[in-house]
Structure formats: C-alpha cells, structure tokens
C-alpha cells in the first residue's frame, strides 16, 4: 500500500504551516533546516523557547509564556511521516513523541504532559511491577511530597548530590514559610524520619514499603520521558536487621527490574554495579540496569541501592535486637521511573516510528476496515465489530479505526507510526471469503503479512496470540543482536578510545582508581556504566594500571562497561 495522500485538517494547517508540506519522507532536508534555526532563534528570543536539546538554555529558569506555544514539536498532530530514525535520532524521537501523542510539553519549561497513549505504557509498567512488589513482600503507602529542608541536610553526601536540583517552596497560603520545604527529589530522608518512629524492635523488621509518586529535580537539560523536571516513579524503601538481608534485597529488586526489562519491555539490559563515582548520593552500593538505545547511547533504566547504615545513622533509625542491644537498621531503596517509557521508545523504534512490544502495548491489534461502496460498507463494518468483540473477549487489546476522514493507506502508516504490533485488514472480498489479512509491525512489506487467515474465532485468536508472542520474541532478539554487535572487548586504553570514538560500548578489565576514571571521562567522554554481574571466567589484567596485585584483589569485578557521550 503506497503512502496515502494526506488531507490535512484546516486548523492544523494554520497551526503548523511549516510542517504541512512535509508529508513525504523524502523531503527531509528542508525540514531539518527549519528545525535547527528555530531552536537557536528561541534561545536568543528568551522566554518562549523550550527546545529541549538546547544546552544554552541552561540558565533560563522559567518560561514566561502563559499557554504552551504551538510551535513546539510535541504538540503537533501526525501528518504522514516522522523524521526517519536513521537520519536524525533525536529529531525522530521528538517527532514520535509528538506524532504518536505520547506527551506534550508542560507550561513550565522542562515539565511534561503525559498523554493517554504514553500514560497507558506507564500503566502497563505499573501493573506488572506492582504485582511483583507484592509478591516479594512489599506494601504500598504514600509519603508527603514536601520535605523540610533540614531533613535533606542530615545526610551529608545526599545533600551534596541533590542540592543543585532541589525545588524549594518558600511561600504557602500567602505567607512566607518558617522553614523552606523541598519538593521531594527522592524520599529517603522523609522515609527515614518515619521509619525511626515505626521501628522499635527486631520484630518490626524487615519493614518493606513502596510508593508510586511524582518527584521533582530541577534539571536544565530536559528531554521528554528521559529527563524531565517532574517525573513519575516508584520508589521502594526497606529496612533490615542485617547487612546481608539488605544486600539480598537490593539484588533481588534489581533482578525484578531486569526480568521486567527482558520479558515485558524486550530490552536486553545489562545488570551490574555502579562505580563509586556513579553511586547514588548516600548509598553504599548502587546496582543498575543499563540499556542500549537505538543511537547506542546508554540509558540507566532502573537502580537499586544498598544504603547501608548511612541514612539510619543520620536519622537515628534504630531497633532493639534479640539480645536487647540497640542497633542501626540496614536499608535499601530502588526505583523505576517514566524514563523507562523513553527507553522503550528508543530501543524499538524504526524509521517509520514507534514499535511497541506486545506485552506493554496499549493497543495490540488495530483493525482497519476497507470499503469502496456503501453496499460493501455495511458488510465490512458488521464483520469488523463482531471481530472486535471476539478479540476483546480473548483478552487482546484491540482498536478499530473506522473513521471516514482518512484513507486506509493513511491509517496503515498512522498505526505503524504508533507502534501497534499487529494490523488486521478487512475488505469486502475478505468478508466474502471469511478471512482476514494480518500484518506485523516489525516486518515491513509482504514477508510480514499473513493472507487468508480464517475468521473462525478459535483459528484467528490462536493465530493472533502466537503472532504477538513471535513479535515479543523477535523484538528482544533484535535488540540483543544490536546490543552485542555494538559492544567491543578492549584490552588497552588506546582500544577503548577507538571504540568510544566509533560511538560503541567498550568492555574491558578495570581496577583503576576514581581519579583515573575521571581522567578517562575527561579525555574520551566515556563513563563507566557498570560492573556487570556476569563476568568472564579466567584472569585478566586491568588495561589502565596493569598492576597484577591490585587486580587479584578486585578480580571478580574488574570488568566495566564504557559508553560514549557524543
């Protein structure tokens, strides 16, 4: 099916005149040209700009414009195509966010409106994780959003890490507040304040809670889902009687995240431990899952911290053990945020737009009826509506697009861009033959189509379900081979530099110091992503220091990932 001519709604034309001529993917050049200058024009123009990749906006605090201006991309409606991913990854990402109606910019710069289609992906994440959290013994609760500033100051490294990003409330109810309040950037401090009151004896342990909440970090460089001033997340907080229990818990939760990433989101993350420099402010150890995006950038998709006794000492969170001794509790915290939605978009998309793994797709199957004459229409529409009921009953998330303003061809492109895994086409001939055509999102053209699939309920449902499973598996498989083809083993600093310069990830033995880590970062732009849990067998020599003795000591964890920041 060729790309259909686009009939633009008149209002849309008025609003986005610059985009109206760009329905053909070939006319990219003019589009990119207009994008860039617009961004820089905004920088000089001050207040109205929210071009999110513009670093020079860093000093601008607040937008003065009242309503979200219409020239920013994420508010645009779909007009036939997005910037191909292979041409400009960043432009593609923003186009997809806008065209698939995943999110829009908020009125305060750096904030984001999560639109229903994007929110439904977040809900899919929530539904899975919430069950897993309960299975692993956690209860949900809710802590206040406002934290007295004095709480934040109690843990020294914590305040140091977070203070540049804090949003402070100083006026409430028309009056200056006696103590400034922090809009939570994370809840360790307030959780500990409460834990201190709730925990008395070893019988109260372990205390394991989780909350779903919004948090605020005053970021200057923002990007929808990936980095926003306010975001939604889940944060788990636990307190244990022993260090071993806390360590087990921290590892258990990173494993829950890893399983989610692999099995639901089809993202082959690498689980491991963060280097000391990258450890969470206030934690003893930070575990992470690192994902490789389509542009080979790394995304930290979830973290689990072993907090040790840092916070319990700062807040005096103590319990009486079985021998009547007072002891500080051992704690963990772990979180996954709406950033994961960004990770899903950037892992699986392609030139045509979004590609969603079936298990988290808000719509798994879209049905597009096709008719020419009014006679045909009634038969097709009847078949479509009974098909829809059938799929709903079978637990498949289905959407029928029977609008008459758009051609079938336009709809095919549109739902492909929205990343719906399967499409069913039904025309008059299909109705006569009692069969349908099923197309896969992940395989373009004829190879991805199954013709003449019977409308017989049991046959069709079984076919769709097995296709959805196939797509889920194939997305993961594809992501794994992409990841593996972009990780290179290195054995010297020179090799590392070369690999990073190519934009790939490097893996190699490492046991050098923090300052050497910093030096590498300055010289190459690469940061240590993690020490993977999965380590190769045999002995290796650190390529940086080549000190054998030191190496043996750090043997099991001398392997690190590097990522290029270009």
């Amino acid at each position: 099916m060729a790309m259909a001519a686009v009939r633009l709604p008149s209002l849309s034309l008025l609003r986005y005149p610059s985009k109206s001529l760009l329905s053909c993917p070939l006319s990219l050049a003019p589009r990119l040209r207009h994008l860039r200058p617009r961004a820089s024009a905004h920088i000089s123009g001050g207040g109205a700009s929210r071009c999110i990749s513009a670093r020079s906006l860093a000093k601008e605090e607040v937008s003065s414009s009242a309503t979200p201006s219409t020239d920013r991309k994420p508010s645009s409606s779909y007009e036939g195509s997005v910037t191909p991913r292979s041409v400009d990854f960043n432009a593609w990402y923003l186009d997809v966010i806008a065209s698939a109606e995943l999110a829009d910019y908020g009125p305060v710069r750096g904030t984001m409106v999560i639109r229903p289609y994007g929110y439904a992906i977040w809900e899919a994440i929530q539904e899975y994780l919430n069950v897993k959290f309960k299975e692993t013994g956690h209860s949900n609760m809710y802590f206040p959003q406002f934290i007295p500033y004095s709480f934040i100051e109690k843990e020294a490294s914590h305040v140091e890490g977070f203070s540049p990003e804090l949003a402070l409330v100083t006026i409430g109810g028309g009056k200056e507040l006696e103590e400034k309040l922090v809009v939570r950037p994370t809840s360790e401090t307030i959780v500990n304040h409460m834990f201190t009151q709730w925990i008395q004896s070893y019988r109260d342990l372990p205390l394991m809670v989780n909350q779903w909440a919004n948090v605020t970090r005053w970021e200057m460089r923002t990007k929808p889902f990936v980095r926003t001033l306010e975001f939604l997340w889940q944060e788990g907080h636990t307190a244990h009687a022993t260090a071993e229990e806390a360590e087990t818990e921290a590892l258990q939760m990173i494993d829950v995240y890893k399983k989610f990433a692999y099995e639901q989101a089809a993202i082959p993350v690498i689980a491991g431990r963060k280097s000391r420099a990258e450890t969470f402010a206030g934690a003893a150890r930070t575990y992470t899952i690192e994902a490789m995006m389509g542009d080979r950038k790394a995304l930290q998709a979830g973290t689990s911290h072993n907090l040790g006794q840092n916070f319990s000492r700062a807040f005096g969170t103590q319990f009486t053990d079985e021998n009547g001794q007072r002891q500080h509790v051992w704690q963990t915290s772990w979180a996954v945020s709406t950033r994961f939605v960004g990770g899903i978009i950037m892992t699986h998309g392609d030139d045509a737009g979004l590609m969603l793994p079936p298990r988290i797709a808000p719509i798994q199957v879209v049905i597009v009826p096709i008719w020419k004459t009014a006679n045909d229409k009634s038969g097709v529409i009847d078949a479509v509506s009974s098909l829809k009921d059938l799929l709903l009953k079978a637990g498949i998330k289905v959407k029928v697009d029977d609008s008459e303003q758009r051609t079938p061809g336009w709809k095919f492109n549109f739902w492909e861009m929205k990343g719906v895994p399967l499409r069913i086409e039904i025309g008059p001939r299909d109705v006569a033959n009692k069969s349908v055509v099923v197309s896969r999102r992940d395989i373009p053209g004829k190879p991805g189509k199954d013709f003449g699939i019977s409308m017989e309920p049991s046959v069709l449902v079984a076919h769709l379900k097995s296709r959805l499973d196939d797509i889920q598996a194939s997305l993961l498989h594809r992501a794994i081979s992409f990841r593996d083809s972009n990780i290179v083993d290195v054995n010297s600093y020179e090799e590392l530099k070369a690999v990073i310069a190519q934009g790939k990830w490097a893996r190699g033995p490492w046991s050098a110091s923090d300052s050497e880590e910093q030096k590498v970062k300055e010289e190459t732009g690469a940061t240590i992503r993690c020490f993977p849990f999965e380590q190769p067998l045999g002995k290796m020599t650190c390529f940086m220091t080549a000190i054998q003795a030191l190496l043996q000591k750090y043997w099991s964890e001398c392997c690190r990932f590097w990522e290029g920041i270009n």
Binding site: L11, E61, V62, S63, A66, T67, T70, G106, P107, V113, I114, R115, P116, Y119, W122, Q126, E127, V131, K134, E135, G137, S139, N140, M141, Y142, P144, Q145, F146, I147, P148, S163, E165, A167, L168, V169, T170, I171, G172, G173, G174, E178, E179, L181, V183, H193, M194, W198, D204, L207, M208, V209, Q211, W212, A213, N214, T216, W218, E230, L232, S403
Partner: protein
C-alpha cells in the same frame, strides 16, 4: 482499647470542604493504615498512589505490618482479592467503560495560567504553595503547585480540540494536589497535600455534559454505599457552595448520626462554558460554525473517602470494623494453646487454615507470635478492624472444627473444617450487608422533613439531617 475511640470525636465542624484535619486527632493505632491499601485497590487506579495519601506525618504512624507472603491473585467476584479486577479497581474499570482515558499533567503551574479564570483563582489563591527557588538560585517567576488542575489542563484542551471529531475529550488523572489551608494550623508538613482522582471532560453539547455529571455521581455513590457501607445522599449544591468558576455542582453527602454533622462526600461539577470561554476551547461543529465546548470536572480525594470512613467509625460504639470489601485483612487466625495441649498441632492447623483461605482468595493472616496471649491478640486485631477472627484450640482440633467470631456483633460459630471456606465467605458477605443496613437505619432515624424555619431550627438542635423545600 475501646477508649481510643474517644479520639474520633473531633472538635471542629467540617465546613463544606472535605476536612482533612479531622484525622489529625486520630489515634495512631486506628485501623486507617490497614484500610489505605484496600481503598486504593478498590478505587484508585494508580497502583500505589494509595489513600495513604494521608500525609500528616505524626497523626497516624501506622506501624505498618508489611505482608510478607504472596498475595492471592484470582478473582472471586466478592471483592476479596488483590488483583486488579472489577471490584478492586472499581472506579478505574467503570470510567474505562465510559471511554475516559488516564493521563498526567504537570505538578507545576505558571502564575498567569493559574490566574486566567478569575472566580476560580479567587477560590484557590490563598491556598496555593509557591516554589520560588531551584537549587541555590531564585526563580525569576515563582511557580505554583497545583491546587487542582483546571488551569493546567485547559490550555491543552484548547490546543487539542479543533473540530467536532475531537469531542468528547475525556481525561482523568490520579495525582497529588496541595492546598495550604490555614484554618487549622498544623506543624509544617502536615496534611496540606492529598491524593485524588480528577476527571476533566469536554463535550459538544450541554446534554452530554449533564448526563456525564450524573453518571459519575452515581459511581461515587456506589463507592460509598457498596464499598465503604456508608449511606449517602445525592444532591445539588447551593450557589454559595458550588465550585469556584463552575456552572453547577452535584455531590454525594454523608451524615454522622452521633454529632449531627454532614460531611461533604465527593463532587461532580458541570463547569458550563465558563472555562471554555476563558481558555478559548472552541471547536468547529458539523455545520462549520465555531462554538465553545461544555465541560465537566469531578474528583474524589483521599480526604473525602476518609471522611466517609469517619462516618462509619462514628456509627457505633462497638463492633468497629472495616467493611470486608475494603479491609486489608479479612480473617485473622489465632492459636489458643492450653497447657498440656499439643501446641505444635495447633500451630500447624493454623498454618493450614491460612493456606486454605488464601488459596480461596481470602486475605487471611495468622498471628503466631508467642510473646502475646490470645486475649491480647484478640483485642489487637479487633482494634485494627479485622472483620473476622478464627480461634483454634485443642477442642477444635479434637472436633475437626474451627471457631469463627464475627467482630461486628461478636457472634461465635463453630465451623467444621470441611466447610470452612464457603462459610467464611458467606459470613463476610453478610457482614458487609449488615454494616450498610445498620448505618442506613441509623441515618434514616435522624432524617427529618421540615417545612418552616422554626421546624428547621428545632431539628438542627436535635442534630437531625434535614430535608427542606
């Protein structure tokens, strides 16, 4: 234990708004904490943004008892499971049927957007909290934290709606809001934040908007009556009490018999075209003419729901229990070992009983602690509001039965082990019904119809609920 209920008698009148400070006087051991997760599952969609919204730090440290065992996951249709099914996620499922979509709008609102609707901002301005600093630097313009999201959402409605095909636009969000109320000054972080659901919808015609206002109101009524077992009255608010900037406001209201006070339940507003005028939410209708949309907004908050709970708690002096549909723990199993008895066998039976109840999707806990007496445990769990208690002693073991005690009326029955699950379910259903009927009876007894002012004043003094023309 009973004495603690005295704490529930609050000193001030909830004035119109759902009054959060009510809970500040709650004793820390009251069953609210237990209720929170249940309520969330029953009604709040966003997993975890629980009704634990009650953010007053010091008022109810719930000494949470995390559940360490696996949760049961199948459905019973009883509302007795933990999975997201129609009972648990009642409201979420219902609005999904109405094709209302969930979304999320930012917490931060700029000053000029906030001030767009005059009446609206007059109602909220004194209660707004302002962020004035980020990190170490002052913001050029202070940023408000949403007291409600009309002003945050409607610029987008204006942007997203252009033709009649874009209508109706029906969105809902689960979030926290902040209202800095000074009527009951409390120490710093308390109580000024709460969680709620807020629905915002736009229609082409008033008829559609009117219809939805009532549909939603009906759902709210069900939350109170079918889940919390609190009888409520549906009604329309007077001009004075309606929503700032709205067209008309409907609400469900509950009544506390003991004190003769009304508590505002939750509200469903028709905003008319007032906001669409201010925010220029126009659309082109079928004939190509420009018109303004009709809007609704409706919300229920953790504060409102807990006010409902208060009604329930006020209901009686004994049998203070949570309605089974919202109780976190439905059944507690307590071993009653005697001297010389085979306590191992008793403990094993307790464990197997728990096992069976859980397999049948009943949320059950066993209290096997050996440092407390059975009597202590009885009152401990009663205080937490668990509706049903199972006691297992040597005699029960011998007779192959368990003793089941209803905590609402103290009735005891011995149930043969074979019928355990079925009978427990029956009793729980009966408790839910009894609670509602009792509350309704009590409320109706306080209802009074008056026709003159004098009668009105008289009835007021008698702490009655008044129906007047």
């Amino acid at each position: 234990m009973r004495a603690q209920r005295g704490a529930l008698e609050t000193e001030h009148q909830p004035d119109g708004g759902d009054d959060f400070s009510l809970f500040l006087s709650l004793d820390r051991n009251l069953p609210i904490c237990f209720l929170l997760d249940r309520l969330r599952l029953a009604m709040l969609r966003l997993p975890g943004v629980a009704l634990s919204a009650i953010t007053c730090l010091d008022s109810w440290p719930p000494s949470p008892t995390p559940r360490r065992k696996k949760e049961v996951k199948k459905e019973t249709g009883l509302g007795l499971t933990h999975r997201k099914d129609e009972n648990f996620d009642f409201f979420g499922v219902e609005i999904e049927k109405m094709n209302i979509k969930n979304a999320y709008f930012p917490l931060f609102v700029t000053e000029n957007v906030l001030q767009k609707e005059k009446d609206h901002i007059e109602g909220f301005a004194p209660e707004v909290a302002w962020v004035t600093k980020s990190g170490h630097s002052e913001l050029e313009v202070p940023i408000a934290i949403r007291p409600t999201s009309e002003t945050a959402m409607y610029p987008y409605f204006s942007k997203w709606i252009s033709g009649h095909r874009d209508l109706p636009l029906k969105l809902n969000q689960w979030c926290n809001v902040v209202r800095w109320e000074f009527s009951h000054p409390t120490p710093f972080i308390r109580s000024r934040e709460f969680l709620w659901q807020e629905g915002h919808t736009a229609f082409a015609t008033q008829a559609e908007a009117d219809q939805e206002v009532l549909q939603i109101l009906e759902l709210y009524l069900k939350i109170y009556e079918e889940f919390l077992a609190v009888p409520v009255v549906k009604g329309r608010k007077s001009e004075l009490e309606k929503f700032a900037g709205g067209y008309y406001t409907t609400s469900v209201e509950a009544f506390i018999p003991n004190t003769g006070r009304g508590i505002q339940g939750v509200t469903s507003h028709c905003l008319g075209q007032n906001f669409s005028k201010m925010f220029e939410i126009n659309f082109e209708n079928e004939k190509g003419e420009k018109s303004m949309v009709w809007q609704n907004s409706w919300a229920y908050s953790s504060r409102a729901i807990l006010s409902g709970v208060m009604v329930m708690l006020h209901g009686d002096d004994k049998g203070l229990i949570l309605p089974p549909k919202v109780a976190a723990v439905l059944v507690v199993v307590i071993p009653v070992p005697y001297k010389d008895a085979d306590s191992d066998a008793i403990f094993n039976t307790c464990s197997s009983t728990i096992q069976r109840l859980r397999e049948s999707e009943l949320r059950a806990e066993a209290d096997l602690r050996d440092n407390y007496s059975p009597g202590w445990k009885y009152s401990h769990w009663e205080m937490k509001g668990v509706p049903l208690r199972i006691e297992i002693g040597p005699k029960d073991l011998a007779n192959n039965q368990v003793r089941v005690v209803r905590c609402d009326n103290g009735a005891k029955t011995d149930i043969p082990t074979g019928y355990l699950v079925d009978q427990v379910k029956e009793i729980l259903i009966s408790i839910q019904e009894c609670l509602f009927n009792a509350a309704k009876q009590k409320r109706d007894a306080c209802k009074k119809v008056v026709n003159t002012w004098d009668e009105f004043v008289l009835a007021m003094n008698e702490k009655k609920m008044i129906l007047a023309p």
